[in-house]
Amino acid sequence: MSNVDIKNQDIKKATRHVNQNEGLIFERSSPGKKGYRLAPLDVPEVDYKKALGDSARADLGNMPEVSEMEIIRHFTRLSTWNYAIDLGMYPLGSCTMKYNARVNEVVARFPGLANAHPYQSADVSQGAMRVMKTLSDCLLDITGMDAITLQPAAGAHGEMTGILLMHAYLQSKGNPRKKILIPDSAHGTNPATAAICGYAVENLKSNSRGMVDVSALAAQMNEDVAGLMLTNPNTLGIFEQEIHKIADILHEKGGLLYMDGANMNALVGKTRPGDFGVDVMHLNLHKTFSTPHGGGGPGSGPVACKKILEPFLPKPVIVHRADGTLAFDYDRPKSVGRVRMFYGNYGMHVRALAYTLANGPDGLRQTTEDAVLNANYIRKKLEGEYELPYKSPSMHEVVFSDGIQEQKGVKTGDIAKRLIDYGFHPYTVSFPLVVHGAIMIEPTESESLEELDLLVDALKSIAREAEEDPEFVRNAPHTTRVKRLDETAAARKPILRWKPAAKSVGE
């Protein structure tokens, strides 16, 4: 038995097994292989070189030529190298990696929806529009807001839309103002968004309880500040208990409260941002509403707002016509404009509605309760083994730090990599920035008690390993098909595409 095997004897969740090697698809290619056959052409052929003249293409370079069998093997093999929510828990804080129901995939592929052209007329699109309208109505009650757009393609895109709404509203009052306040615990997209919308970013410090320092806010708030971008619960998983005071301070000076809805999974069915003073917010359908993450997207980032911001929503907006049918209204003179062509990531709207229907009001509430229960269970079980920098109550996620393990030279990133050997995807590493060596865990509602206990056991075991053999943890993962990859080399001399082996000069 090797040293690694001995060390891994305690791992319950995962066992190493053989998986297939596979090169790049270009390395499989050879001339004459085909993975397609076209139907015969039923109109006269056209000589494209003659028709296009100077605009005709010579050839398609290194595009692959492979058979269908090889394509299936290639992508199936690749897929087996990925971790996925279908395989197990993803305790990624702030990412809400929950179960993606298969019925959502089925309904999104119904031909009447999947093959609908965005420019086909409204009278043959009523069903597609009804999905958007019904989802909109559900999201409005869930958020406690008055109006909504489904157009933004992702969370950051929603942020941009929301800040543009604020800008347009303040402009209509005479002064768009110069600054946006952003807490030090915020997602990186928040300051990047403010900058795109032409605002300067001013940092807002949190207090010792991990919440917005209300007196600091009062001191920083003035007529130059357009508003505050706040995540609630914040990225420490803590509910901003003085949320209404925060809103009041902003509103008194004519500013607005933007809420980053990344953490709505802690709130759905229990409280509504519209009720606690938020003016505008985005939702991440790929987080709270279970649309699949797909290895990085697509997402969908609807933006909900109060009545005062409605005139500025991106166009078109969906409306009822006099005869009761649905239509798109493009006549929106105050609109901030379009943020994306067509109507947004429509396929995600379909999936999010299917999720909402599968849950109903009782299911949505139970979902939120289970998400918060799971996070608090993990907190209880791991407190002591890992340092808990903020003692305020946790909602749907809990943030520990590597404070204890760092004394042995083991950092949050090392613990995360070792967790891979235990069959888990790592938690969120080194975020939020306000916690040194953050270990940010969001289990979501999708985990059983057994899976939670496995995670707890794994993290306890790694804490022990860090104590006894820190070097071993620092070199993790030990069981993956590739070891830790050299990211520095990747960035220093970037290789961003495959190239055929060098040919001799003159070729």
Partner: protein, 441 residues
Amino acid sequence: MRYLPKSPADRAQMLREIGCKSIDDLFAPIPAEYRLNRDLKVPRQMAESEIIDYFQECASSNAVGYALFLGAGAYHHYRPVVIDAMISRGEFLTSYTPYQAEIAQGTLQAIFEFQTMICELTGMEVANASMYDGSTGAAEAMLMAVRITGRKAAVVARSVHPEYREVMHTYTQHQGLPITECGYLENGRVDMADLEKKITSDTACVLIQSPNFFGTIEDVAAVADLVHKKGALLVVSIAEALSLGIVKPPVEADIVSMETQSYGVPLGYGGPYAGVLATKEKFMRQIPGRLVGETKDKDGKRGFVLTLSTREQHIRREKATSNICTNQALIATMATIYLTIYGREGLKELAQQNLAKATYASGEFAKKNKVLFAGAPRFNEFVVQTKDDPHAINQRLQEKKMIGGFPLGWHYPELGNAQLWCCTEMNSKEQVDSAVQVVGQ
């Protein structure tokens, strides 16, 4: 609730261990006056069979089984079944952004292959891992040109998709970046004389689309010459990516922004699609969005990682190249599989079929109506001018289960009753003949 893997006993045990009497204790941090003490007003919990029925009803009240002659930025192409078989695998569908490279090599390698294919197709040297879509990609390309040149204005051809142009205006409205538009000629191509007048010493880039919104293929080399002479960059936007099977890639461009929907992505009422930005190596560090790069592990084994992330928001915050985070990875994977299936020969054959169908259809329409923008090459779209209002024509077509071309007058009043038609490999000769007959005139 069937998605929740806990029994009432599990919940009771967990609460006990946490030291809570009831779940309400965990929600105590929410001030009492803001707690929701009623059910949400959403439809009641449904069985899976009811969900299927609900969406079946929605789907069937849309056009189903209609012949489709609409393009205009969203194209109807055949989707080989292998695509959905592969991307439905949970390991692609339900995985997260590949930050943890050791357990995300599948997604990373697929995206590396995507980036390579986009370079091969566009003639560029580097491509990113995807953007939201072609419209936002074009807007980001413009902002990228501003960062590279330090100049603060842009010229956009009026023959660029009208909704792309709207998105560019939205993105740039608070950037102090005035956008001027340049006109088109009778052959549908960019009016070079007008363009020359519009480019100033402040112009960061000129953005054209090819094939453009009228289906006309631009003389990219000539436009590039003019633009480069004035010290600006050329951005070429491609909405119908299948054209690259037979159309010369825009190698003279500095940045290419492409919508990849034609590569096996369903029309899906407008999304999700995937955009992508490609550029020259020297501009690599100004590209927004994620990039996958090749590297080695400790044992020297090849592997892939997300790289050059110091451009991105999670590191650079307000100084990032863009605020983009989530992109369209699964859609890029769809495109990669599609491009693998058709490959070097199939993409050409397929593009040739599209050209043949559109050539046949425009020839048939030309027998009784005027086909506009003659004198420049086109791919699978063409513009027909009729005496009748195109909306009336489309109504007549709809009664025969056909969806007619896009009426251009809305965005181009000067084109009156003109309609933008699209024919792909999905349109049979029989469909074309029926449509021509219904349009009549």
